[in-house]
C-alpha cells in the first residue's frame, strides 16, 4: 500500500522499503543526520500507515473499556491515553492510543496490527451499540517532532498546538478542512501529530517543510524511539509478552473493572519466571541486534529485542528481555554478538531523556 505522500517521498530522494505492507521512506539522507534534526530542531515523519479508527454510538466507551488495558472512563474530553489491547492470556495484541472527544472516541493502532485490531473489535463488540470506522486510507497522519516542532506548527491550524497539554488533542481546521492536532509522538521529543484528509497530505507536508521541518524516514524514527526506550510492536511487544514484562504496568488498570486479559494479567503480574524488559549499554561499538542472546556466566538469560548505535548518547544500546533476577541497573551481563561475548551493563530506561525546557 501507499500513503498519500508516497510519490513525494520517492520524488525527493527517499529510499523506500516495505513496512507492514506499506511502501515507506526509510531515510532521505543519513540516519544520524535525521536523528540529530529531531533532537535539535524539528523532523517530519509520514506516519499515515498507522491505523486510525473512530468510534461512535452509546456503546463506544464500553467496547473500548472491554479491549483496553488502561482506563478510558477517567479520560477528560480531548485527552489521549496510551494502553494495550491484550489477548485472553494477557499477551499484547497491540499498543494503542485512545482519543476521547465530546462526541465519540478514536484509536490509533500499529500498521502491522490494523486488520487484527479491527477484527478483534468486531469479534468482541457483542450487543453494544457502537459504530467503528477505519479512516486510515481516507486520511493522512504527519508527525512533527523536536524542540522547534510546536513553534513551527503555530498558525498552521486554527488550534494553537502550544496551548495543548502533553497527551491532549484538538479537532481543528487546516486550510478550511477538518483536521486533528495531537500533542503526542514517538521520538522522546516534544511535538505534534496532525491528521487531515488524504487530499491535503502533500500540501500540509510541504507547508511544514517550508517552515523548516526536515523530512525523516522510519530508520531515524526507530533510533529515536529506541533511545527514548519506547517499545515497538513485533520487537519489545507481542502476543506472548504481557505488559508487566514490558515495563508497562502504568498502562494497566486492574481495578478499572473487567477487560479482556485481566484474569490472566492478575496471575502474571508478579510471576517471577517471566522475563522483563531492560536496557543494555554495551562497552564496545559492535552492535547487539535483535535476536542476539544475553548471557550471564556463559548461560543464556535473555534475548535482545532491539539494538542500535544510539546517535545522541553516542554508544551501542539495546533493549532485551532478561530473567527478573538480573534486571537491576548495574548488573553486568554479556551479549553474544556474532559468536563473541560482548560486555553489557543493565542501565535505567530511557537511555535518553529530553532536557526540561
Amino acid at each position: 500500500m501507499r500513503t498519500p505522500l508516497h510519490d513525494w517521498h520517492a520524488g525527493h530522494g527517499a529510499r523506500m522499503v516495505d513496512f507492514a505492507g506499506w511502501d515507506m521512506p526509510v531515510q532521505y539522507t543519513t540516519i544520524t543526520d535525521e536523528h540529530a534534526a529531531v533532537r535539535t530542531s524539528a523532523g517530519l515523519f509520514d506516519i499515515s500507515h498507522m491505523g486510525r479508527l473512530s468510534f461512535g454510538g452509546p456503546g463506544a466507551l464500553d467496547l473500548i473499556q472491554h479491549v483496553f488495558s488502561n482506563n478510558a472512563a477517567t479520560m477528560k474530553d480531548f485527552q489521549v491515553r496510551y494502553g494495550l489491547v491484550c489477548n485472553e492470556q494477557g499477551g499484547i495484541r497491540d499498543d494503542v492510543l485512545v482519543y476521547r472527544w465530546p462526541y465519540g472516541w478514536a484509536m490509533v493502532v500499529n500498521a502491522s496490527n490494523r486488520a487484527k485490531i479491527v477484527a478483534w473489535l468486531e469479534q468482541h463488540r457483542g450487543a453494544r451499540d457502537v459504530q467503528t470506522v477505519d479512516q486510515t486510507e481516507a486520511t493522512c497522519m504527519i508527525a512533527v517532532q523536536g524542540p522547534k516542532a510546536v513553534g513551527l506548527c503555530r498558525g498552521l491550524t486554527e488550534a494553537d498546538p502550544g496551548q495543548l497539554a502533553y497527551y491532549y488533542a484538538a479537532p481543528s481546521r487546516y486550510r478550511g478542512k477538518n483536521c486533528v492536532v495531537s500533542r503526542t509522538g514517538y521520538t522522546g521529543e516534544d511535538g505534534v501529530e496532525i491528521m487531515v484528509g488524504a487530499d491535503l497530505a502533500v500540501t500540509l507536508w510541504e507547508d511544514l517543510v517550508a517552515r523548516g521541518a526536515r523530512p525523516c524516514g522510519l530508520a531515524a524514527r526507530d533510533t529515536l524511539r529506541l533511545e527514548a526506550a519506547m517499545p515497538l510492536y513485533g520487537h519489545e511487544l507481542g502476543e506472548e509478552i504481557d505488559p508487566f514484562q514490558a515495563g508497562l504496568a502504568w498502562a494497566v488498570k486492574l481495578d478499572k473493572g473487567d477487560f479482556l486479559g485481566r484474569d490472566a494479567l492478575l496471575k502474571r503480574k508478579d510471576d517471577p519466571t517471566l522475563r522483563r524488559r531492560v536496557g543494555l549499554a554495551l562497552e564496545g561499538k559492535r552492535l547487539a541486534r535483535e535476536g542476539a542472546s544475553v548471557l550471564k556466566d556463559g548461560r543464556e538469560v535473555g534475548k535482545v529485542t532491539s539494538g542500535t548505535f544510539a546517535p545522541t548518547v553516542n554508544k551501542a544500546i539495546a533493549m532485551a528481555y532478561v530473567d527478573p533476577a538480573l534486571m537491576e541497573p548495574g548488573t553486568a551481563l554479556e551479549v553474544d554478538v556474532r559468536g563473541k561475548a560482548e560486555p553489557a551493563t543493565v542501565v535505567p530506561l530511557p537511555f535518553y531523556k529530553r532536557p526540561k525546557s
Binding site: 539522507t29 543519513t30 540516519i31 544520524t32 559492535r286 552492535l287 548505535f309 556474532r338
Partner: protein, 128 residues
C-alpha cells in the same frame, strides 16, 4: 586511488594489485547504501585470507555486512585507524578509507573481478 583503475567484486569491495600486494576497500556505492558506518572489524597483520571468504565486518546503524577478500594471500598491512574512527570509509572510500593490504599468491591477478564499467552495470541492475 582512481576508481577507473580499480577492480570490483559483486559484494562491493574494490581491489588494486601493485607489485604483488592487493589493496582492498569498499566502493562508494557500498558506503552510500550503508550510510552511518559505526564500526569496522579488520584482521591482523599475518592473517591468511582466502578469495571470496570473509576477512572483516562493516557495521552501520542499519545493518552489519561481511567484507570479502578478493584474492588469496596474507595480510601485510591493516588500516588500524578505521577501528577507532570509521569515518574515512564514508568520506574517502578509495583513499584514506582503504582497509587491508594482502600479499597475493605469486601469479595472482584481478581478472576475475569486474571493471568499473561492469560494476556500474551491476549497480544499475540492482535497481538502486
Amino acid at each position: 586511488m582512481d576508481p577507473k583503475s580499480l577492480r570490483y567484486s559483486e559484494s562491493h569491495e574494490w581491489a588494486s594489485l601493485d607489485g604483488g600486494v592487493c589493496t582492498v576497500g569498499v566502493s562508494q556505492f557500498a558506503v552510500d547504501q550503508l550510510t552511518d558506518v559505526v564500526y569496522i572489524e579488520l584482521p591482523s597483520v599475518g592473517d591468511a585470507v582466502q578469495a571470496g571468504k570473509r576477512f572483516g565486518t562493516i557495521e552501520s546503524v542499519k545493518a552489519v555486512s561481511d567484507l570479502y577478500a578478493p584474492v588469496d594471500g596474507e595480510v601485510v598491512a591493516v588500516n588500524d585507524a578505521l577501528t577507532s574512527d570509521a569515518s574515512p570509509v564514508s568520506q574517502d572510500p578509495y583513499g584514506k578509507g582503504w582497509m587491508v593490504k594482502i600479499k597475493a599468491e605469486p601469479g595472482a591477478t584481478l581478472d576475475h573481478l569486474k571493471t568499473l564499467e561492469q560494476y556500474q552495470q551491476q549497480i544499475a541492475s540492482e535497481g538502486h
